[in-house]
């Protein structure tokens, strides 16, 4: 992994007013819920934070011509992809963890204390989920230029939910399962409730999706031919 690439991505994200406003909203809204309604909903969920930070991580470099400049330096393509992934995962996990800690303090101060084990589990799930979302973002972003990755998220997430709903409503377990797998790939969430039935499968499926997403992102980028010609 390349530290300079990681810092460059985050620095670039912090110069975008739209992304910064969205991040402030995503950080503050669940805390407002914890304060006003004693609700833990959304606390420590890194999905939207990672999406705001990571959307177009590779695609925007590709459409703006930055990718050609980057690869003119001694940087391997796998290192480039893994650096993008690590930057998105670490930053979104960090923001979500701070939010989770503040949320628990707010809930405790308002008479809704959470146990240490629940806090530890939520923190673990936050970090793992951030890694998962980061993996899917770099895969989708390697496939389409610009912010095309957002369209893929919408397509897979909404398509999966719709298929899952239809499968349940019409009692078609195979359709429901396909929909569930599509949704869980687009919106990865690590479930660390080990011991409950299905939890081992959920964890292996999560790890499998992450490894597959990263490997495919590198393979896709390795096969992408870049033009160095000028207009």
């Amino acid at each position: 992994m390349n530290g300079a690439l990681m810092v460059a991505l985050l620095r670039q994200r912090m110069t975008s007013p739209v992304r910064v406003v969205l991040l402030v909203f995503l950080f503050g809204f669940p805390l407002l819920g914890a304060w006003a309604m004693q609700s833990a909903r959304g606390l420590g969920d890194p999905f939207m934070i990672a999406l705001v930070l990571g959307a177009g991580a590779i695609g925007q470099d590709l459409s703006s011509g930055v990718l050609q400049l980057t690869f003119a330096r001694p940087v391997s393509r796998s290192s480039y992809v893994l650096s993008k992934w690590a930057a998105i995962a670490l930053a979104s996990a960090g923001i979500a963890l701070v939010q989770l800690a503040l949320g628990f303090l707010l809930l405790s101060s308002r008479g809704e204390p959470m146990t240490a084990s629940a806090l530890a589990r939520s923190a673990g799930e936050t970090v793992a989920s951030a890694a998962g979302v980061g993996g899917v973002i770099v895969l989708f972003s390697s496939l389409l230029p610009g912010l095309g990755d957002l369209a893929l998220f919408l397509l897979l997430g909404l398509g999966g939910s719709l298929m899952g709903f239809l499968g349940q409503a019409r009692t078609l377990p195979t359709l429901a399962k396909i929909g569930q797998e599509m949704s869980s790939f687009a919106v990865p969430h690590a479930d660390l409730s080990l011991g409950s039935p299905g939890s081992v499968y959920a964890l292996v499926a999560f790890a499998s999706n992450l490894a597959l997403a990263l490997a495919l992102a590198i393979v896709v980028l390795n096969r992408r031919e870049l033009s160095y010609a000028s207009d």
């Binding site: 004693q38 391997s76 393509r77 409730s193 409950s196 299905g198 597959l212 990263l214 490997a215």
Partner: protein, 174 residues
């Protein structure tokens, strides 16, 4: 002209062999686990549910009834079952603090519900699933939670609803 390079050792475009092997192993493990776990899936629920008929007799001054109104086709109900009712600690908490009663709607599958289910749904005005209703032992105080807000939030709201119902049931005005 596009730059073309080889993908052998030392190339900046080398394919991630180790990552691909790990992804392949995890994929095989995932399919195998999916096939292996299929028959075991239905026995997830760890809550000690009580039948509708005996619930009021089981309830006490500090142990209200918790009606869980759900349906087999309801996605959020399944998520709640997976996150809350299948979690050993949360299931234990629910079984200790409440007299839990599972009320499953069969309208869609069988065209109608058993009379005791219809009576409970009418009594508490159930219009969506899941709806959780905490009812005092004398049946005169109740609090409803509609929808599934997530495991932690649900447990917090259930505790709040229990306290509210117990306080109102114990107040002199009552």
């Amino acid at each position: 002209m596009p730059a073309t390079e080889g993908r052998g050792a030392g190339s900046s475009r080398r394919d991630p062999a180790v990552l691909l092997v790990i992804a392949g192993i995890l994929l095989v493990a995932r399919v195998a686990l999916g096939l292996y776990q299929k028959p075991a899936a239905p026995s997830a629920d760890l809550v000690e549910w009580h039948p509708i008929a005996g619930a009021e007799a089981e309830a006490g001054r500090n142990r209200p009834i918790l009606y869980d109104f759900s349906a087999d086709w309801c996605g959020p109900c399944q998520a709640m079952e997976r996150d809350v009712f299948s979690d050993r600690r949360q299931a234990q908490t629910l079984s200790q603090l409440f007299v839990p009663v599972h009320v499953v709607d069969r309208q869609r599958e069988q065209g109608r519900n058993p009379p005791e289910v219809t009576a409970l749904q009418d009594r508490f005005g159930i219009s969506a699933f899941p709806t959780l209703v905490v009812v005092s032992a004398d049946g005169r105080q109740h609090e409803s939670i509609t929808g599934y807000p997530g495991a932690m939030a649900l447990m917090a709201r259930l505790q709040q609803a229990r306290m509210a119902v117990l306080e109102r049931a114990a107040s002199p005005a009552h």
